[in-house]
């Protein structure tokens, strides 16, 4: 099985952690920013609803409805609908004529305080903020309610923009983190690789090789230790070689001695052999000269053999 490098492990880990951390930060940021926008939207539209309520209450005394104001409010970009609702839930006025006279069922109906809550636009089904402001038309009676549907499209658009910008930023950060983690990982793994390679070279017998790491940490110490080890190994090897050389000289000298001895013996044998051969030759001449004197000769031969045997033992 292929082993995974420390570099890739560190690199993937840092990248993954950065990715997760970035996603979480981005989420929190988007959520907080969305809440801020929602709060601003509610604040703004509460103010609008309160102003409209005051105008409605004031003009009610003159028996008129402030259509121009209501129209202006209803035309506002964020406003999805505007209703004036009686305490019994009947829509008294609506920007959309179709809603006139309809009955609504809502727990906030007749509220004494201005209310802002999440809701769904009953017509288009989109999520909205609902602002409900009490209209106090007659003292001592249950208030009417001004319902303002506030679109969240602006917030959604802003949220999308934030997400897009956030993602762009996030991607840039991730790219940066990848580079950083790459260099960081390399900073850790490169000296290790040097150590590995150095150890391999030294292991192959190159005790002259030196690991050069200047990280100022444990890795540098490890390199130095290996270098020291290589030094020790080199010295041991030199000593061994020197001993080996001495031993060889001794062996050579002894071999020489033996050789000389052998040569001396050989010379003696050769001399003796030569002497023998001369004697043999003399004997031959003698044999030739002394025919019939074979017995004597046999004896002489036996004597020669005896002599040869005696010489052989001497050699040994």
């Amino acid at each position: 099985m292929r082993k995974k490098s420390i570099f890739s492990k560190i690199f993937v880990l840092i990248t993954l952690i950065s990715l997760i951390a970035g996603m979480l930060i981005l989420t929190v940021f988007i959520r907080e920013r969305t809440r801020d926008l929602e709060r601003a939207l509610i604040r703004e539209n509460k103010l609008l609803a309160e102003t409209a309520t005051i105008i409605i209450e004031t003009t009610y005394l003159e028996h008129i409805l402030p259509f121009r104001t209501l129209r202006k409010i209803a035309e506002a970009e964020n406003i999805t609908f505007l209703w004036i609702v009686k305490p019994n839930g009947e829509i008294y006025y609506a920007d959309d004529p179709e809603m006139f006279g309809k009955i609504i069922d809502d727990p906030s109906l007749g509220t004494e305080e201005i209310v802002a809550k999440d809701s769904i636009d009953p017509k288009v089904g989109e999520k909205i903020k609902l602002i409900i402001s009490p209209i106090k038309r007659e003292i001592g009676k249950k208030p009417w309610s001004l319902y303002l549907g506030v679109s969240l499209k602006e917030i959604t658009t802003a949220q999308r923009r934030i997400i897009l910008n956030g993602l762009i930023f996030f991607v840039l950060v991730i790219i940066f983190v990848v580079f950083i983690s790459f260099y960081f990982s390399r900073g850790v793994t490169q000296p290790l690789e040097q150590v590995r390679k150095g150890a391999e070279i030294i292991g192959k017998g190159n005790f002259e090789h030196r690991i050069k790491i200047k990280t100022g940490d444990e890795l540098e110490e490890l390199g130095e230790s290996i270098n020291r080890m290589a030094n020790d190994l080199k010295r041991s090897r030199e000593e061994l070689e020197e001993y080996s050389k001495t031993l060889e000289i001794k062996v050579d000298a002894r071999t020489m001695e033996l050789k000389e001895l052998t040569e001396s013996l050989d010379a003696q044998v050769k001399e003796k052999t030569k002497e023998l051969w001369e004697r043999i030759k003399e004997l031959e001449r003698f044999r030739k000269l002394t025919i019939g004197r074979e017995l004597k000769m046999i004896e002489l031969k036996k004597e020669i053999k005896k002599l040869k045997k005696g010489e052989g033992n001497q050699k040994l």
């Binding site: 993954l16 979480l24 769904i120 636009d121 999520k127």
Partner: protein
Amino acid sequence: MTKKVIIGLIVVVLIGVGIWIALKPKVEKPIEIGVPEVPGVEERMAGYGWSVNGDESQAVEEAVSMMKAKLEKSPDFAFLFSSIGYGEEKLLQEINELLPGTKIYGGTSCLGPMTADGFHVGEKASLAIMGISSEKIAWGVGGADLDKLSPREAGKEAVLGAIESAGKEKTEKPNIVFITAAPGMEETILKGIEDIVGKEVPIFGGSSGDNEIIGEWRQFVNDKVYSNGLALAVAYTDLKVSYFYEAGYPVTEQKGTVTKAEGRIIYEIDGRPAAEVYNEWTGDIFAQQLAEPGKVWGILAEATFYPIAKVLRAPGVEPFYLAVHPLDIRPDHSLGVFADMADGDEIVLLHGDWEILLNRFRTTPMKTLETFKLKKGEGLFALYTYCAGTMLAIPEEERPKMSLLVKEVIGDVPFIGNFTFGEQGYVPGVGNHHGNLVNSIVIFSPK
């Protein structure tokens, strides 16, 4: 290795789910919307129907079917208002075929008619009809041709014909008279009617209108169509008849006296050219017209928000401000208007905006209910007359609210309305008058 990958994937998925939950919008309970209960139709003596179909036969079929569905039996009488654009003779022929024996009264309305269902404007034409079926009301209709008779004589002939049509004697005064005349001579027509019924019988109605003030208006009486005539209806009844007639504009401090006038032209106010005085009163908005003499300047649209009002005084009653619509500025700086003026008329400047005009659809019915001590929903049926000029001053997108506002005040009462070029109405103590930029409502209810 595989194990680590799986764990990594699980972590990423969990974080993704967390993010999704964090950013996911909360689902809220929507507001529940219901429709109010409508009383059963069996109790109704009046029913209405309408159509925006441009074909006469189909439009009549649609509207009459709708109306009949709300009535127990065929109506004795029907108000009929349509826009221009139909062949009116064919229209009435179709109606008379579907409603034999029903007395028809009505005329054309600017852009279209109005009912409790809304303001009905068709691509080509539109109509609305409201039929009344009740033994408690005796209806009569009459008509007269203004091309053949003087306005005063036409008024007399029409009302006499209507009284006869109701099966009543000339001496029997109706409880109310409705008129739809061609614009131009309404005051004299009113006098003719009063010659027969007296000054105390309320006369309500409006001058028939077209879309561009080009004389395409029509008046309907049974199967008869007038282009320059008078349609009239009388009602004899024991039912309570409530009404209100007003312009509803706030009165300004600008006032004067007409020192020279003839018919529908005011030459001088306080001894000065009328148009110059009017321009001063309005804050110089007609300076351009006055600076270029030698031609007649139409000022209908601008003057809608600055009517002149005749101050009508009577003992024991508050002054009544009868609005008059300035029509044009003439080369001699006189002021053409849509109602008769006379030397010595006390006048004031009124001023309003479309908000005031739209509010009238609430305030005038409210005043009717208050004055006649009626409660919401007590009416049996109603007739609404509204000045076309003031309707046109209301932004188009706001016009669908007109009938809804009326309905909001009077309740679930069938009503029909038309948009007219001059309105006639009765003010207790002051009498019957013809005015402009006015609106009125007449409500029939049990006593």
